[in-house]
């Protein structure tokens, strides 16, 4: 993955925004920051760090990223911890906690933590702090998962380690946990210049549609999501079918599907059964998804749905809003942070609501356009990678003065 130079973002977010980032960075000076995560590739955290770390360096901050080591045994345990912290019921034996600590201790011996700020990402390396108790620098835990209903056994084990940190960062108030340390909110962010979001030529968008046999003869309503019951793909077909009584349109369902995922196979079967042989419904599966084609599908759509019944942050909403699409989203998880109902999209709570949303937007193109424009602005203000860069810079400054409400830089 190559990272575009920060200057390239001037055209997207404005030179004034980049200029102010550089001003704040100049006050941060040559302080150092180390990110620690559990995987170098795959997943949103790695994707984000691949961008953020070079940008911080470009701005004069000495930024490093280290990945902890572990074998299958460790990562199976941390995967179960991850699920449990997101609410999954599971009982763990003492040996799971012992193994978790052994690997954290091993990693604490192999890594150095000399930087001014250490940012530990997610639960896998959270106990590293235990072996660095005499530290003089600041340690922050960046939690990317939904911790609103954590499994008490796992959280009871990890919480004492988390509370040794100087601060924690969560993606939203909805996902935060009760802690005795200061907590910051960093919304997740999209990169406007990556393949999933960058501008595309109309000819390319049309060629992608043609490649997949999707005629551009009527409006396209699209949901791009894993084939997962919580994304409600069956509900999407029902909502679209109800709307079709009033407005003619196509439905495009695009989703990732791992080759060895029996649950996704089952859902896909249900989706195909619900769709029947309707030539206006196009069901595509990717393994893995191709970012530029996803981008093209979003840009080709008149409406993008994210009719989730349960959601993490749901950044696909920001991806679509960034492309100025009108979005209909389920009012769950992080979606209401992105969609202000009636202004930056429509929030719905049912199949019927989604159907009304589709009808309303296809019948009122100017309303749909206004929602897309407002949504684009909201993403520009809150959900772009440049905003996250700014948050890291501000955090470096704020940790020096934890009790200050206003910091005046001269």
């Amino acid at each position: 993955m190559t990272t575009p130079p920060l200057g390239d973002y001037e055209d997207v977010v404005g030179s004034d925004i980049i200029e102010e980032l550089m001003i704040i960075a100049s006050h941060v000076g040559n302080r150092s920051i180390k990110m620690v995560s559990s995987t170098p590739v795959g997943g949103g955290v790695a994707e984000m760090l691949h961008r953020i770390v070079p940008f911080l360096n470009y701005m004069g901050i000495q930024a490093k990223w280290e990945v902890i080591k572990g074998d299958d045994k460790f990562f199976e345990i941390t995967k179960s911890f991850h699920n449990a912290l997101q609410g999954q019921k599971e009982d763990f034996g003492e040996d799971a906690f012992t193994t978790y600590l052994e690997y954290n201790e091993m990693n604490s011996r192999e890594l150095d933590f000399d930087e001014d700020l250490i940012v530990i990402h997610d639960p896998q390396p959270v106990a590293l702090i235990h072996w660095n108790q005499n530290r003089k620098n600041r340690w922050v835990w960046r939690c990317h998962i939904d911790m609103s209903h954590p499994n008490p056994q796992v959280w009871g084990f990890l919480k004492p380690y988390v509370e040794k940190y100087d601060a924690a960062i969560f993606s939203s108030a909805l996902f935060s946990a009760e802690l005795s340390i200061p907590q910051y909110r960093f919304y997740p962010a999209i990169d406007p210049l990556d393949d999933k979001n960058r501008e595309l030529d109309t000819s390319y968008v049309n060629s992608v549609l043609a490649n997949y046999g999707i005629p551009k003869d009527k409006p396209i309503v699209t949901q791009i999501s894993r084939y997962d019951p919580w994304k409600d793909p069956v509900g999407v077909i029902r909502a679209w079918r109800m709307a079709r009584k009033n407005v003619d349109c196509r439905l495009l369902l695009v989703g990732d599907k791992a080759a060895d995922d029996p649950e996704a196979d089952k859902i896909l079967e249900e989706v195909r059964a619900e769709a029947g042989n309707d030539p206006n419904i196009h069901i595509l599966t990717f393994s893995p998804s191709i970012a530029t084609e996803i981008n093209a599908f979003q840009r080709a759509s008149d409406i993008v749905l994210q009719k989730s019944l349960r959601e993490g942050f749901g950044l696909t909403v920001s991806e679509a809003l960034w492309k100025r699409r009108a979005v209909v989203g389920g009012a769950v998880g992080g979606i209401p942070a992105q969609i202000i109902d009636g202004y930056t999209g429509l929030l719905v709570h049912s199949v019927e609501g989604a159907s009304l949303g589709i009808r309303s937007l296809l019948s009122q193109p100017s309303f749909a356009k206004a929602l897309g424009e407002n949504g684009h602005q909201r993403v520009k203000d809150e959900f772009l990678i440049t905003k996250n860069l700014k948050r890291y810079l501000l955090l470096l400054l704020a940790l020096d003065k934890p009790s200050a409400h206003t910091i005046f830089l001269s």
Binding site: E20, A173, S176, Y184, P336, Q377, L394
Partner: protein
């Protein structure tokens, strides 16, 4: 020549407090007890974000009361609060408390309602910084208005009142005191921010200055 105007700007780091309210009584308690910076976040910062997305609410309090408790009348009363009239956050806090408490007398049933989605109290750390843009006169000021960020415009037009104890925005104060142009300053003070986005405010400022410059040219 008067004082040089150096543009500043500000940025926020949002904090979570873990505190929340499910009803008006709890909201009132939060507003009474929270830090000034929390009030700032849910009013001045919220206003900036909602303006840009063209959402017609000016505070998170009004938004939550309207959307989660469906108390539209109270939301309207809260929205009628002119943030620009307040030089201190404490003054704003008092007005918010007064509005909600007097609503209890008008509609006690509203206080019995419980929202499905709570109001999450946030806090904020503001960082205020200087930019390297200086205006020496009205012309250079006008040119720089096209280049500075909306955050800088927001800072000088709204937020700086809180730090400087000004009765009006910092632009008009400088134009009146340093450039000795009270008529233009008065026009700028009269801009109704509640009907503009920040980009719209930028355009309106430039428009007023251009008109003024034209008048000056004609007089010369």
């Amino acid at each position: 020549m008067g004082d040089v105007f150096q543009f500043r700007s500000s940025a926020s780091l949002e904090k979570l407090t873990g505190q929340k309210a499910y009803n008006l009584e709890e909201l009132l308690e939060l507003i009474k007890a929270c830090s000034e910076s929390s009030i700032f976040f849910h009013t001045f910062s919220a206003f900036l974000k909602m303006r840009e997305a063209r959402v017609p609410y000016n505070t998170d309090f009004a938004f939550w009361v309207a959307r989660m408790l469906n108390e539209k009348a109270l939301a309207e009363k809260l929205m009628a609060v002119d943030l620009c009239e307040h030089k201190t956050v404490e003054g704003l806090r008092s007005q918010l408390i007064e509005i909600i408490e007097s609503y209890r007398g008008q509609k006690p049933g509203a206080f019995q309602k419980t929202a499905d989605e709570p109001f999450y109290l946030h806090d904020i750390t503001r960082t205020v910084y200087l930019t390297d843009r200086f205006a020496y006169d009205l012309r250079s000021f006008r040119e720089l208005l096209t280049e500075v960020s909306i955050y800088s415009i927001y800072f000088h037009f709204i937020e700086s009142r809180l730090y400087k104890d000004f009765d009006s925005d910092e632009f008009s104060v400088w134009i009146e005191s340093s450039l000795n142009m009270p008529a233009l300053a008065k026009k700028i003070q009269k801009i109704d921010i509640s009907v503009h986005t920040l980009e719209g405010l930028r355009i309106r400022l430039i428009q007023l200055i251009d008109e003024h410059l034209k008048e000056l040219e004609q007089r010369a």
